[in-house]
Homo-oligomer: 240 residues x 2
């Protein structure tokens, strides 16, 4: 966070969130920012590009950078956000039940998801299954599969709290990007057993393939939501 462009990004973001730059107003021009921060214009532009990509501003040629309507109330399920971060933002009554935690040879299906060769009989996978309770009802079932060699010290207590904090904080792993697929499916036996499905006939399934900095796939996750507790918000720019 000592990079100049990140400092500028954080500063401006904070100012937008504090309403110092209200919606529909213009940020200082690139030349003004360049003078303010004693830097070059390209560095200022890097910060503004980041803001633009994350949906905070829109740059308009000949005019300036407009502040867009806030994402404040949006579920930040877009991008990569863990349940813990979500929970902290939502402030609702939440609980996590760790239903399983074991390391072993993966099934054929899991091998396929994690791009492990079918003949490979040595790569171990750590499986974590957790039910998420919101306001007294179990509404999300998270099934995580990690390459065991990459994660050590994954205890029930860690799974209870935040695996991502463990990975990024304690282990120093750097999660880089993920591919996600959202579909709607029929509930499985396991869904019925582990969740409070009430009368719901469908389950929203989010399949997540998570990659590290060095482009290696290291986690496959299935997050299974009761439909009424599912919401996904996305910001997308059109690439011409």
């Amino acid at each position: 966070m000592q990079n100049k462009y990140l400092v500028i990004y954080q500063d401006l973001l904070e100012q937008i969130e504090d309403d110092i730059h209200p919606v529909d107003s213009y940020l200082p021009s690139e030349n003004e920012l360049k003078a303010q921060y004693q830097t070059s214009r390209e560095t200022v532009r890097k910060a503004l590009t980041l803001l633009s990509q994350n949906g905070y501003i829109q740059k308009v040629r000949g005019k300036g950078s407009v502040v867009l309507p806030q994402n404040k109330f949006d579920f930040p399920v877009s991008g990569l956000v863990s349940f813990k971060e979500l929970r902290d933002k939502l402030g609702e009554d939440n609980k996590t039940h760790v239903l399983a935690l074991e390391t072993r040879l993966p099934s054929r299906h899991i091998k396929k998801q994690l791009l492990i060769d079918d003949d490979d009989m040595s790569t171990l996978v750590t499986k974590v299954i957790r039910a998420r309770e919101i306001n007294g009802e179990k509404v999300i079932l998270d099934k995580d599969y990690f390459l065991a060699e990459k994660i050590s010290g994954l205890t029930a207590q860690v799974a209870q709290d935040s695996i991502y904090q463990h990975l990024e904080g304690t282990l120093g792993l750097s999660i880089s990007f993920a591919k996600k697929e959202i579909t709607v499916e029929d509930p499985t036996e396991e869904d019925r057993d582990s969740l409070d499905l009430d009368g719901f006939h469908n389950i929203v399934v989010i399949k997540n393939y998570v990659y590290l900095d060095n482009a290696t796939l290291f986690q496959y996750t299935e997050s299974r939501h009761r439909p009424d507790r599912f919401r996904f918000v996305d910001f997308a720019r059109r690439h011409h």
Copy 2:
């Protein structure tokens, strides 16, 4: 498309898709590309950054740019893609039924979505309702609301073909970005009337707020999918 960095981007993208740079291989280094294209390194980097943002490569410090597993088979519902583009890629048996097309004063609800003041009694909105048929079944209901002043010449024929092509091609409007929300809801009377719901008890609802280049909101769309015909794929980078 005459920008140097876009040319480099397109070239590399094509080479990746043609398997000249297979998955897990490295692209030429930035210095090599700089020499190849007779340009500066920053311009090369701009192209590579675009590839990275769109999920085609991962840049690894000290090593190079690795080609990631392909998005080829992914539904490109992520980002901003119209039904027509989708249809073209899918090549399935598709049809569009235009159920309504009219321009009038909007309801209170639509005013709210399009950020029109409640007291405003002059701003007209064009409503288009279309049912999408795939393999003989009507499975998607698209309800579009446009600021009428921005779109002219929107006929049933255009709605039948592609509104986006009309907007970007004929009218020269530049769609810039959109905010999307995905939820699962109970079907309405209208859903039951317009779609072949079979036994399905839920509808996947995608609410879309579309903005132009100059940061003005000009379209609100509700796309209502039968759950078995819904799939959403997303690529997301983690911003540290």
